[in-house]
């Protein structure tokens, strides 16, 4: 049993911790942005062409079941020991979570809202951009929150095969049977996840002013069960 906590290790490694935190943030945020960039058009396409949705859903749940460590290992041959080895699989996971939420979000637009928009003379594209997508925001953000938090947790797996991030602290702690870096790593990871989550919640609040007027008919269901946890 080694319960050897040393504050001195923490205070003497501020530079390292800052650097690892930065790398970790980069490796978890880039996949979220890339995943959103792909999932939005793909989800819109699936709503426009409903025949596509079933095969896309099957493909994304296939990807979601792939173990991250296995994907990292396969990618080493192509991307080497660079950030891309972690970014590509995490983008695939993010995308797999988000496509479903984009489709659910777009389909959650109430019929009377679509009809009102059409009656006001909104064309297809304008209705999509100014009515359907904004209404879908809460459901999409719910997916973004799941994807972001699990990405932040998964980046650490990359450190096991040598891709740096806060997981480096776990590797270091395990190899030396030294608990301080492990605890610091867990705490920093959780703080990062909580902050990222809070930013997304804040973003949703800013982007959906109509949900807080107090007279909106019904909140859009975000259905926690539909999201792969």
């Amino acid at each position: 049993m080694t319960w050897d906590w040393r504050w001195s290790w923490v205070t003497s490694h501020y530079d390292l911790l800052g650097e690892l935190l930065g790398q970790h943030l980069y490796l978890s945020v880039v996949p979220v942005l890339l995943g959103l960039l792909i999932a939005l058009p793909l989800g819109i396409l699936c709503v426009q062409v409903p025949r596509l949705y079933a095969p896309v859903l099957a493909l994304t749940s296939f990807f979601y079941a792939l173990p991250s460590l296995a994907l990292f290992v396969v990618l080493i041959d192509y991307t080497g020991f660079t950030g891309w080895t972690v970014i590509v699989p995490l983008t695939i996971y993010t995308l797999s979570v988000l496509v479903r939420n984009v489709v659910d979000g777009l389909r959650s637009v109430p019929e009377h809202v679509s009809q009102a928009a059409t009656a006001m003379g909104f064309g297809g594209l304008r209705r999509l951009l100014q009515v359907d997508l904004p209404v879908a925001i809460p459901v999409v953000v719910a997916g973004l929150r799941v994807a972001t938090v699990s990405n932040i947790s998964l980046v650490s797996v990359g450190s096991l095969i040598g891709i740096s991030g806060l997981g480096q602290l776990f590797v270091d702690g395990i190899q030396r049977s030294f608990i301080t870096p492990i605890i610091v790593g867990i705490v920093l990871t959780v703080i990062l996840a909580v902050l990222a989550d809070a930013i997304l919640v804040g973003l949703q609040w800013l982007l959906t002013p109509w949900t807080r007027t107090g007279r909106s008919a019904k909140p859009v269901s975000t259905d926690p069960a539909g999201v792969a946890v």
């Binding site: 650490s156 030294f178 608990i179 867990i186």
Partner: protein, 225 residues
Amino acid sequence: MNIVSRAINWFGEASQWSGSDGIPARVGEHLYYSGLSLLIAALIALPLGLYVGHTGRGAFLAVNSAGAARALPTVGLVGLTVVVFGIGLTPTLLPLVALAIPPILVNTYAGVRQVDAQLRDAANGMGMTGSQVLFQVELPVALPLIVLGLRTAAVQIVSTATIAAYVGLGGLGRYIFDGLARREYEVMIGGAVLSVLLALGTEALFVGIQRLIVSPGVRQRALVK
């Protein structure tokens, strides 16, 4: 493509298929850790989810603690338990169990909660007791989501159990980390391919289980939705 043919050769070698570090033995270890973790997690999360869903008590806590658990890095938990308790089965299972509880808990809770209120009223009106309502009405209707939770948990456990090898235990992760240490990339690929197959097999298994145990009436309702 050289690496692909080398990996195929690795699978073809007779020595891979027997002995304590052969593929059957490693797959067996992997399934043992995974099955045990899933069992423990289900024993904790299923009753808890049913209770919270049926009574509505502690729902806020259950859902949010599940969200918070998602933020915990599994690698860090494995490291923590190994440094504190030493190398062994328990410290390896602990993080896997922690990983599996949230999806089972949240889906069981959500499954019971989303049961039509009219259905519940009808059951009460027929004179069913609380536990009869739970086990004869809410549970069967919630089954699709409960099995989905178990499936998510099982796939995550099988995927993550590779990490156990990093702290000295067996399972498919052995190939990945031994291959990394010895610079034998084809061994790593072999381990990766095996763990992918096992994860997909687990997914397929639970899809099959769901077909078997979910009542046809409930399944059709789910389809109509």
